[in-house]
Amino acid sequence: MIQTTLLSKKYGPVEVLHIDALDIPTGQSFGLVGNNGAGKTTFFNILLDLVRPTTGAIINHDFQVNTTEEWKTFTGSFIDESFLIGYLTPEEYFEFIGDLRGLNKADVKTFLTFFEEFFNGEILNKKKYLRDLSKGNQKKVGIVASMMGNPKVIILDEPFANLDPTTQIRLKKIIKELTENREITVLISSHDLTHVTEVCERIVVLEKGNIVKDMETSAETLQELESYFAV
C-alpha cells in the first residue's frame, strides 16, 4: 500500500505537483500518464526521496519515505540512464546492485537466468561497458536491476521508450507476471497509451501536476484516453 496525502511540490511560485490523496493498494499494476511536464517523474522522484515534497508525504508500506529509509529494502526502481554506472560491465553492475540488495554471486546468476529471453543475447558476456551499450540495451539492464532482491514495489519511469518492439512485448509479459500473485506493486509511467492500458489495471492521468482522471482499465479505457489527449 502506497499512500499519498496532501502532497505538493513547488519550484518557486510554480506548483508542479499537487495530489491531495492517492492510495495504491499492494499488488496493483499502476499506470501514470500525462504530457511532458505533467509531474510524473516528479512524483516518482518524491516517492524515491530524491526530491523533497513542499508539503505532504508519501507512505510506502508504513514507512514515510522522507523520514525513514526502511522502504529502500523493498523498493526497486529505474528512472533513467543516470541510474547506471557507465564504467561497469552489465555483469559487474548486477553484482553491485545484488550486493546492495543482499544477493550473493550465485543468487545473481540464478536471477539473471530468468531474463535470458528479455536480454535477447545482447547484454551478458558481451565484454562491453554499460556506457558503450545502446540506449535500449542500457534500459534493459536498468529495468532488470530494479527487480533484483525480491522488491515489493517496482517503479519504472517510461520503461517502454527506446525498447525495440520484441522487447516491449516481453517487458509487458514480465510486468503482468510480476503482479499476478498480487504481492508486488508495479508503478509505471508512459507516453504510450496502448502499452500502459495493456499492462496496468489502473490508470491515473496527470495534467499540470493535478490528477484529472483515475480509472480502472476496461475495454473502453484506451479510447477514452485517446480522446482525452486528442486536443
Binding site: 524515491l48 526530491v51 529502500k72 541510474f83 547506471l84 554506472i85 564504467y87 561497469l88 559487474e92 558503450d132
Partner: protein
C-alpha cells in the same frame, strides 16, 4: 563558407558551458597564457645576450640549436597532455551541401592557429631579430626562423596524427630521458647532432625547404586520415574497447563495504579523468627530489612537512576532493538503494588510507636525505590518515559540481569549485605552519610528536568524526542530487 565555419566556431566557444562556467578560472587561464608569452618574449630578446655573457667562447645560435631537440620533444609531450584535437562538430554539417574536402581543410587549417603554436613564436621571432641586429647573416637567420615556424607546425600536425597514442607518448619520454642520459655520460650527443642540422640551415638557407616538405607530408597524412573519417561510421562505430571484467575478489575481506571498494577501484582504472589523475601519483612521489636535492632546503625542516604531506597525500587530495562527485552521474541510483552513507564514506576512507600508507612505503628511499626526513614523512602519513582524510571528506559534503568521467584531467576544472581550492590550505599549510612554529619555539622532536599526536587523535576519534561527516552528507543530500542532475 569559411565565414560560416568561423561563426559557428565562435559561437561554440563562447556559448560552451566551459566558458560560461567561471569568469574567475578563465581569467586565471588568461594570466597563465600571458605569463608564458611574456616569459618567452623576455627570453627571446635577452637570451642571446645572456648566452653570450655566460659562454663567451661559444656561438649563442649553436648553443640554442643544441638544445632544440629537448624543446621539440618537450613541446610534443606538452601538446600530448594539453592540446585538444581541433574537432569541429561535423555531424550536422554532413548532410548539408558542403564539400567534404572543405570541412577537412578547415579543421586542419584551424589547428595551425592553435595557441600552442603561438607560444614558441614568442621566443623564436625576437631571438631571430636579435641575431640579425647582431650582425648574423639575414638570409640565414630568416631561414632558421622559417624552419622553426615549420617545425612548430609539424609538431602540431604530428600530434594530431598521433592522436593520443600512448606508445608514441612513451617513445617521446624515452627520447627525452634517453637523450639526456647518453649525453650526460658522453656516449653520444644526440641533441648536439640534431642541433648541427639546424646549424646547417643557417649556413645553407636552402635546407629550410626540407621542413616545408615535412609539414606538407604531415598535413597530407592528416588530410587523408581525416577525409576517411568524415562519415558517420566514425560516430557510430566508435571503437568500443573490449571490457575487461575483473573480479577483485581480494576486496572481499572488507566485508560489507567491499562492493563500494570494488566500484571505486574500477572507477579509478576505467575512466579517462581518473586515469590521468593516477599519473599524479608518480609526480607526487618524486616531488621531494625538487627540494631535497637542493642544499638550501637541507636545514629547513618545515619543507619536509610540505613534501611529506604532499607525497604521501597526493592521491588523498586528488581523489578525496571530488568525493562524492566521482559518483555524481549515478548518485540518484545510489540514494535510492538500501545503503547507508556510513558504508559509502567508509570505503572512500579506506581507499585513501591505503594509498597514504602505500605512498609512504614507496617514499622510504627518501631516508637517503637523512633520518629526519623519514621521521617527518612518517608523522605526515599519520597526520594524513588521522586528520586530512576527515577534513577532505567533510569538505566533500559541500561539493555541488558534477564530474564527467570521460574528460581528461589536465587543465580540466570540471567539478572544481571555490571550496576545492580553499581546502588545500588546511590540508597542507596548517600542518606546515604548526610544525614550523613548534620546532622554532621548542625543537624538532616536539614538532614531529605534535603532528603524530594530532594524527593519532584523529584515528582514535574516527568513529565520532564519521558520524559528524555522515550527518553533514545527509543534510545536503537533496542539494547534491539536484546539483548532480545539472549538466555543466
Amino acid at each position: 563558407m569559411i565565414a560560416h565555419f568561423l561563426k559557428l566556431e565562435w559561437k561554440q566557444y563562447f556559448r560552451s558551458s566551459y566558458w560560461q562556467k567561471s569568469i574567475f578560472l578563465n581569467i586565471l587561464l588568461g594570466f597563465f597564457a600571458l605569463y608564458f608569452m611574456a616569459s618567452f618574449l623576455i627570453i627571446g630578446i635577452g637570451g642571446y645576450y645572456i648566452l653570450k655573457d655566460q659562454f663567451p667562447e661559444q656561438d649563442p645560435l649553436v648553443l640554442v640549436n643544441s638544445f632544440l631537440m629537448y624543446v621539440i620533444v618537450g613541446d610534443l609531450i606538452f601538446r600530448y597532455i594539453m592540446q585538444k584535437l581541433p574537432v569541429m562538430n561535423i555531424k550536422p554539417l554532413l548532410i548539408l551541401p558542403i564539400n567534404k574536402k572543405k570541412i577537412v581543410h578547415f579543421i586542419l587549417m584551424k589547428s595551425s592557429f592553435s595557441i600552442f603554436n603561438l607560444f614558441g613564436l614568442f621566443f623564436y621571432i625576437p631571438f631571430a631579430v636579435v641575431l640579425i641586429v647582431n650582425g648574423y647573416d639575414t638570409t640565414g637567420a630568416l631561414a632558421w626562423l622559417f624552419s622553426m615556424i615549420l617545425v612548430v607546425q609539424s609538431a602540431n600536425f604530428f600530434n594530431f596524427l598521433v592522436n593520443k597514442n600512448n606508445q608514441v607518448f612513451m617513445g617521446l619520454i624515452t627520447i627525452l630521458v634517453g637523450g639526456y642520459i647518453i649525453q650526460k655520460f658522453e656516449v653520444f650527443n644526440l641533441a648536439g647532432f640534431i642541433g648541427e642540422g639546424f646549424d646547417a640551415v643557417y649556413a645553407n638557407p636552402i635546407y629550410a625547404l626540407l621542413f616545408l616538405v615535412l609539414v606538407f607530408v604531415l598535413y597530407n597524412f592528416n588530410y587523408k586520415q581525416l577525409r576517411n573519417e568524415v562519415y558517420l561510421d566514425a560516430f557510430i562505430s566508435q571503437e568500443v574497447k573490449v571490457a575487461k571484467s575483473s573480479d577483485l575478489a581480494f576486496t572481499n575481506r572488507f566485508g560489507d563495504i567491499a562492493p563500494f571498494i570494488k566500484n571505486d577501484l574500477r572507477l579509478l582504472v576505467r575512466n579517462k579523468r581518473t586515469k590521468s589523475s593516477l599519473w599524479m601519483l608518480l609526480m607526487g612521489l618524486l616531488y621531494g627530489l625538487i627540494f631535497y636535492t637542493q642544499p638550501i632546503y637541507a636545514d629547513k625542516e618545515w619543507v619536509f612537512v610540505l613534501v611529506g604531506i604532499f607525497s604521501t597525500g597526493v592521491f588523498l587530495m586528488n581523489f578525496g576532493q571530488f568525493i562524492p562527485a566521482w559518483d555524481s552521474s549515478y548518485y540518484k541510483m545510489l540514494m535510492s538503494q538500501n545503503i547507508t552513507y556510513e558504508r559509502y564514506l567508509k570505503s572512500k576512507f579506506i581507499i585513501m588510507t591505503i594509498s597514504v600508507v602505500l605512498l609512504f612505503l614507496l617514499g622510504i628511499p627518501y631516508v637517503y636525505f637523512g633520518w629526519k626526513v623519514l621521521a617527518v614523512h612518517f608523522a605526515a602519513m599519520i597526520y594524513n590518515i588521522g586528520v586530512n582524510t576527515h577534513v577532505i571528506m567533510f569538505g566533500g559534503s559541500f561539493n555541488r559540481k558534477k564530474i564527467n568521467l570521460d574528460e581528461k584531467a589536465a587543465f580540466n576544472y570540471q567539478g572544481t569549485g571555490a571550496v576545492q581550492w580553499l581546502i588545500g590550505i588546511p590540508l597542507m599549510l596548517f600542518p606546515m605552519a604548526l610544525f614550523g612554529l613548534i620546532s622554532w619555539l621548542v625543537n624538532f622532536e616536539t614538532a614531529v610528536i605534535t603532528l603524530l599526536f594530532l594524527g593519532f587523535a584523529g584515528i582514535a576519534f574516527h568513529k565520532n568524526l564519521m558520524i559528524l561527516i555522515t550527518k553533514k552528507y545527509q543534510e545536503s543530500k537533496y542539494k547534491m542530487i539536484h546539483a548532480f542532475n545539472q549538466e555543466n
